[in-house]
Each structure stands twice: as structure tokens, then as C-alpha cells.
């Protein structure tokens, strides 16, 4: 039915009014000629029906034959609408112009949205886009976003990725900022000093003068690479040493560093275990007043205490009444003699945990040695020596006492 209705609307139809009693004859005559009707209804002594407009001239002679005059009551459908539009050229022109405008306008970029910029100013990214010819009002056609992305990235050193996406008339620029390493570009002069005691293994000087060499033992705070340069010049037979300016010392000094950890572990281990016996003491507190229900004291020799506080509630509402219970648990303490291996293992575990905390993460472990010391006071004693290879060069600016740690 919908299809029919749409078809009728597309083809257009006329509503015809027929007068008199010969309507049936008219219908039969028309039907025999293949003329179709629809929406036939009676309105008083008139009959109204619809048919295609082309049929109307064919109906004329038939109506005369049937003796029932007909006249067009109404016209509907697109063809008639177009006919009306023909007479209103301005309206049609406006309509066409509107769609033309809409079509052309949709071919441009009207909005630029930038997402992903956290540190960078959106304005500067917008400016970069504009330099590449991407600004509101740019024609979308002919833009090669793939190469534009690359150009954008080349133009911005502070971005690690950029993506363009067109959504209708909106250009979405998504950026990922580059995290640049924080470099210290201060104009200072400095020395490299040892941050730890160690045995120099390798020395690499980028700027400055080495004061130590491989094989030297250095103490913490000793100058490894000096920023103060010396110059040698000859004066006759004599070679004179003099200062030739200062630089900021740079380099790496790799040294062997030893760490020593020791741990003592008792050979007797005490374990506490609850026996399951417990005594409870209740206390009621109300507006700062406490009412003890029984004097709290432990009936056990070895015990643990647990306190549980509970506010008395009444239908989701807190009341100022608090209920406190003290639980005394009886605890059984058992002493256990540990075997030597067990104690060693436990002490080793402890040492390992301590070493992990103490060693700098960048240190490279070169070796370790573990030795047992004679037991004292019933405790097993263990010593762990870890040898690492690490960069011990720390920068100290001239005229500064404290070592900088950045």
C-alpha cells in the first residue's frame, strides 16, 4: 500500500467528481478500457474518485456516453507540484542555490580540532597547520593527508606522532607529544668527583682533565675529572704548568665498588600461636563516658590483645553509643632450635632483601662473596660482600661544596 501511495505521488493523480446516477456505467466503460480508479467514495449525490491525470481526457467521452458529467476536483502528486514550481522560478532557483551552497560548503574544512596537546599550546599547533595550508576555509579536495602528516611531523620536533582525520567539515588533528630528555644546559664549570669509594676500572673523559687512572683507589669526594684545565708551556729549559681556564667536566668513571652487609640470626626461633582461648571485656561508651563491664586485665601469661569498636546503629542512623570489646587471646610460645642450614638460609634471605634495597638500580653486579662469622650470643652471623661495577662520577660545580645529585 505504501508503495502504491508513493507511486501515485510520483506519477501524480487527479481527484474527479462525478455527478448523477450513471457513475457505475462510467466505471464499467472505463474499466473495460483499462482505466484504474481508487478511493471511490460517495459524497451526497456526487461520487468522488481518483485516477491518473492521463486518464482524464479518456474519461470525457465516456462520461458523456454514461450521462454523468465529470470535473476535476483536485490534483496531487509531484508532477503538479513541479508545475507549480515552474510558475515560481525564484523559489526553485533559491532551492537549487541552497543545495548547491550546502554541497560546496561541505567540501571545505570549517573547523579544526586539536586533541592530545597537553604541554603544547594549541595555538602553536594551529599555526603550524596553517603554515601547511590547513586552516578553516581550506578546500578538502586534493589534500594528501598522508604527506601532510609527515610534513607536520617534520615541522614540529616536539611531536612524536600526528594523525589527521576528516569528519565532515571538521579536521581532527590528534597529536602525541614527544617527551624530551631533561638536559641541563646551564653554563657552569664543574668537576667530577667520586660518589663512592672504589677501584677505578675504566675512565672516559668527554671534557675536562682526568686526575685518576684505571687501577687507582679513590675515596668518596675525591676529584676524578677536573674541570680546571692545565697547560704546559716552555720557558727556556723550564716547563711551566699553568691554569688554562675551566670547563664543565663531563665523562664516566667506572669503578668497582664493594658493599658489605651482615646479618645475625638467632639459632632458636620462637613462634607464637593462639591456643583458641580468649576472654572478652566489654565497654560501653556514651557521649564520652565509658562504662566498663568488668575490669580489663589478661588472665593469661602470654597473650595478644585485639580491640573491636562498633557504633550502635538504629536503622542506618548512627547513635552516640559505642560498643567496644577487648579480646584477650591466649598465646602459646614455642621455642624451636634451628638447624645450621635453616638459620643460614634465613639469614641469607634477610641479607638479600637488604642488599636489594641498598644497591643502586643501575649498578652491575660483578661478583659476591658470602662468609660465615663465628657465632656469638647464640646467633649465627653472616656477612655478604657484593662487588659491583658502576659509574661513580658525580658532578660538583665549582664554588659549591655539596655534591649535586642530578
Amino acid at each position: 500500500m505504501f508503495i502504491r501511495w508513493l507511486l501515485n505521488l510520483l506519477l501524480g493523480y487527479v481527484v474527479i467528481e462525478a455527478e448523477g446516477g450513471g457513475v457505475e456505467k462510467l466505471f464499467n466503460l472505463a474499466l473495460s478500457r483499462g482505466i484504474l480508479f481508487w478511493n471511490v467514495r460517495r459524497r451526497g449525490d456526487k461520487t468522488v474518485f481518483s485516477t491518473y491525470p492521463d486518464n482524464f481526457p479518456l474519461l470525457r467521452p465516456l462520461s458523456r456516453k454514461a450521462g454523468c458529467p465529470i470535473r476535476i476536483q483536485g490534483k496531487a502528486g509531484f508532477p503538479f507540484l513541479f508545475y507549480r514550481f515552474k510558475k515560481r522560478r525564484g523559489l526553485v532557483a533559491g532551492l537549487i542555490l541552497f543545495f548547491l551552497f550546502l554541497y560546496t560548503a561541505s567540501g571545505f574544512i570549517w573547523f579544526i580540532e586539536i586533541t592530545g596537546a597537553e604541554e603544547l599550546a594549541e595555538e602553536s599547533l594551529r599555526a603550524t597547520a596553517e603554515d601547511l595550508g590547513l586552516s578553516p576555509g581550506t578546500l578538502k579536495r586534493g589534500l594528501d593527508f598522508y604527506s601532510l602528516e609527515r610534513e607536520f611531523l617534520l615541522a614540529r620536533r616536539d611531536l612524536s606522532w600526528v594523525g589527521f582525520e576528516i569528519r565532515g567539515t571538521k579536521l581532527e588533528i590528534r597529536v602525541v607529544e614527544k617527551t624530551l630528555p631533561e638536559e641541563d644546559f646551564r653554563d657552569v664549570t664543574s668537576d667530577l668527583v667520586a660518589s663512592k669509594d672504589g677501584l677505578i676500572e675504566k675512565i672516559l673523559v668527554l671534557s675536562g682533565e682526568a686526575r685518576v687512572e684505571a687501577g687507582d683507589t679513590v675515596r668518596e669526594g675525591e676529584i676524578l675529572v677536573s674541570g680546571i684545565l692545565t697547560a704546559h708551556y716552555q720557558e727556556g729549559e723550564e716547563v711551566i704548568e699553568g691554569e688554562a681556564g675551566a670547563v664543565r667536566a663531563r665523562g664516566e668513571v667506572w669503578a668497582r665498588v664493594w658493599y658489605e652487609f651482615s646479618a645475625a640470626y638467632p639459632l632458636t626461633e620462637y613462634t607464637r600461636e593462639r591456643t583458641g582461648n580468649r576472654t572478652a571485656f566489654h565497654t560501653l561508651s556514651f557521649l564520652g563516658r565509658e562504662i566498663h563491664l568488668g575490669a580489663p586485665s589478661s588472665p593469661y601469661g602470654n597473650y595478644e590483645v585485639e580491640e573491636i569498636k562498633r557504633r550502635v546503629k538504629w536503622r542506618n542512623l548512627d547513635t552516640p553509643v559505642e560498643f567496644m570489646t577487648l579480646y584477650y587471646y591466649e598465646v602459646e610460645v614455642t621455642a624451636r632450635e634451628l638447624s645450621r642450614d635453616e638459620a643460614l638460609f634465613k639469614a641469607g634471605e634477610e641479607l638479600f632483601a637488604r642488599a636489594q634495597k641498598a644497591l643502586p638500580p643501575e649498578a652491575e653486579i660483578a661478583g659476591h662473596r658470602r662468609e660465615e662469622l663465628p657465632p656469638r650470643e647464640g646467633k649465627l652471623r653472616l656477612r655478604l660482600v657484593i662487588e659491583t661495577r658502576e659509574n661513580i662520577a658525580g658532578e660538583m660545580e665549582h664554588g659549591q661544596k655539596e655534591e649535586r645529585t642530578d
Binding site: 457505475e24 478500457r33 484504474l36 478511493n39 474518485f49
Partner: protein, 99 residues
């Protein structure tokens, strides 16, 4: 066959009816009869009619292969009026076939 009013063929009809039964073919096709479909009391579909005899909002008379079909009701409207098809809408009250 638009416009061709039926010519009574008593003998032929009998044979056709017999054939239709034998071959289990629908009678409306074989014997040039009308097919009426009434949906509820509001829509009546009439296929293979032979012409309208009377049209009014209270009564429609249509010629069919088996006689005159009289549709009585209120606010009767012919939604579609094609050469062999008729579709009536409205409050249909009685259907009568006058031989």
C-alpha cells in the same frame, strides 16, 4: 479480460467444474469465478469481478461470475477499482449473492 461481460455457458461450466475437482485446481481460475476475501468486517477483496452495477456509500452491487454480489454497510469506499479487482473498505454488514 477487461470489459468482456460473461456469457453464460451452462454445459461448459459443468465440465470445467469436474476438471477442476479432478485436477485439484482452484475453481475461481478454472471456472471464471470470483474470489472474495473478507478481512474482519472492514475490508473486502473481490477478485475477478464483472463490473459495477450500483455504487453508494450504503450499498454496492457488483456483478460476478456466480451472480450479483450485494455488499451492504456504512461508509463504503472503493479503495481500488481495477479491471478485475475490487477492494472495498468500510463498515460491512451483509454480503448477499443474488442469482
Amino acid at each position: 479480460m477487461p470489459g468482456v461481460l460473461p456469457v453464460e455457458k451452462k454445459k461448459g461450466k459443468r465440465i470445467e467444474g469436474y476438471l477442476a475437482d479432478f485436477f485439484e485446481l482452484p475453481r475461481d481460475i478454472v471456472m471464471d469465478l470470483s474470489r472474495l476475501t473478507l478481512i474482519g468486517d472492514g475490508q473486502l477483496h473481490l477478485e475477478n469481478h464483472k463490473g459495477i452495477v450500483e455504487y453508494g456509500s450504503g450499498r454496492i452491487k457488483v456483478k460476478t461470475g456466480s451472480g450479483l454480489l450485494i455488499i451492504r454497510g456504512e461508509g463504503l469506499v472503493i479503495r481500488n477499482l481495477y479491471a478485475a479487482e475490487l477492494y472495498v473498505e468500510g463498515d460491512i454488514q451483509t454480503l448477499e449473492i443474488a442469482k
